[in-house]
């Protein structure tokens, strides 16, 4: 009974917090402003992600790894050390690595080249443990500095166009014992699971409500989740095999979502159920 009460309380919180995720509510430009206003209201008492971002800032500036260097010269696409607005333009094609990278895989590159840290220490770690926890804190720090910007990824390079196509194919790909795809939950407008509103990720408004509000602090688990973490858990619930951290399917899906969401507001770090 007590649990049920807690559940009702939580669902009420979802209704309050999840309001901004309602795809119908984001149907036009005017509602972007409403989403921003609601986000501001939501985080008026503070977003616990700020604490994680604070740790991230310290880690960013701390000399670490075999090369005993900080990440202050890390180039996230706008030049070494430029963080303002950087994550709003990710994923992007990077000439130096010859790859399309999202925020996390780009940070892996910086950790490897600047600090000499083996990417495997992140890729093989568990969520919120070891170097992957470090990664999450860095992400929180970086995305805070794109808050309020517009989602604006550069789709000009052919590599980005290809990733978009691959991401779209992944989005519709049904497999596993439950025959699910991303579209099973996110391929229609105005649906929900239990009481959780589901953004229709095929539409600009829906994709913006999803892509623009992650990474986020999850109240239910008391954890800060990166986009890699979010996508990983989507696949867990689809009952597929596990996507490898930073693998191309996660990048392709990210490009597909960010391109679809283009122009929508970046409200990161988000605050979720």
């Amino acid at each position: 009974m007590r649990q049920k009460k807690l559940y009702v309380l939580l669902t009420a919180l979802v209704a309050a917090v999840g309001g901004m995720a309602s795809p119908a509510a984001l149907a036009d430009k005017a509602s972007d402003d409403a989403a921003i206003a609601r986000y501001r209201e939501m985080i008026a008492d503070g977003n616990p992600a700020e604490l994680v971002a604070g740790q991230g800032e310290e880690l960013w500036k701390t000399k670490r790894g075999p090369k005993n260097a900080s990440l202050e010269k890390c180039d996230l696409g706008l030049g070494p050390g430029v963080l303002k607005g950087a994550s709003a333009k990710l994923p992007r094609y990077f000439k130096d690595t010859g790859r399309v990278q999202d925020l996390e895989t780009r940070l892996l590159t910086c950790m490897e080249t600047l600090q000499g840290i083996d990417p495997k220490t992140v890729i093989d770690a568990k969520w919120l443990k070891g170097e992957r926890e470090t990664m999450a804190a860095l992400v929180a720090y970086v995305v805070t500095q794109s808050n309020g910007q517009k989602i604006d990824i550069d789709m000009t390079p052919p590599q980005m166009k290809k990733m978009y196509e691959l991401g779209k194919m992944a989005f519709y790909y049904r497999s596993g014992p439950m025959d699910f795809a991303c579209t099973t939950c996110h391929g229609d407008t105005g649906k929900r699971i239990r009481l959780q509103d589901l953004p229709d990720l095929r539409t600009q408004a829906g994709a913006a409500a999803g892509w623009g509000t992650w990474p986020a602090y999850r109240v239910s688990s008391g954890e800060f989740w990166t986009m890699q973490h979010r996508l990983n858990d989507c696949y867990r619930q689809q009952r597929t095999a596990e996507p490898i951290f930073g693998s191309d399917v996660t990048i392709a899906l990210s490009v597909f979502l960010a391109a679809t969401a283009k122009g929508g507001p970046v409200l990161t770090p988000g605050l979720k159920r």
């Binding site: 559940y7 669902t11 052919p158 590599q159 166009k161 290809k162 196509e165 691959l166 779209k168 194919m169 992944a170 519709y172 790909y173 049904r174 497999s175 596993g176 014992p177 439950m178 025959d179 699910f180 795809a181 099973t184 939950c185 229609d188 105005g190 649906k191 929900r192 699971i193 239990r194 009481l195 959780q196 589901l198 867990r236 619930q237 009952r239 597929t240 095999a241 596990e242 996507p243 490898i244 693998s247 191309d248 399917v249 996660t250 392709a252």
Partner: protein
Amino acid sequence: MKKISILAALMAVSSGAFAAGGDIHAEFAAMMDRSFKTTGIADKYRMKQLDFQKACSAEKEPSKKVMQAIEAEQLKTIRYPADGKFFGDWKEGEKIAISGRGLTWTDKTRFDNGGGCYNCHQLSHKEIAYGTIGPSLQDYGKVRGNSDEIVRYTWGKIFNAKAFNACSNMPRNGDAEILTEQQMKHLMAFLFDPESPVNKK
């Protein structure tokens, strides 16, 4: 030898170009293969598609003809209860409808699964936390009665929804061995029993 290397270079260039026709499918397959791994009970093999899964993985539904062929094929998988009894205990059925657990890589065994019905369907008059991906099933038995026809149809739908709608969002609970025969009987009782909160306010 020289010819081959020129050809290889040409191919490398063209595959770098955007979506060179059919190449995108090969690239997609390669991407999926290198992007997933086996974790716990969730084997990498799960990424291999069944024929109908593949047909239902495009932006648009397949043609009516393809859908009908899939449905005919899936219909053959349905096994009706050997003892002819379709109904278990609705109270057990309600628990199964509520539980959304099972088959993820964090589950210990693949044989202890819920039905996850509430994720997508409204059922009991008393439960407000229901999803809307599937239609409301409130008053299911009350509205439809319990003729042999509707009972057998409902069993079939729970067992393999693809037999009635090729690209249905609903899992094949019986065919994919998500639920046991006994669990499906409990769900049937939950849907049809006049005392079940699905039918009784």
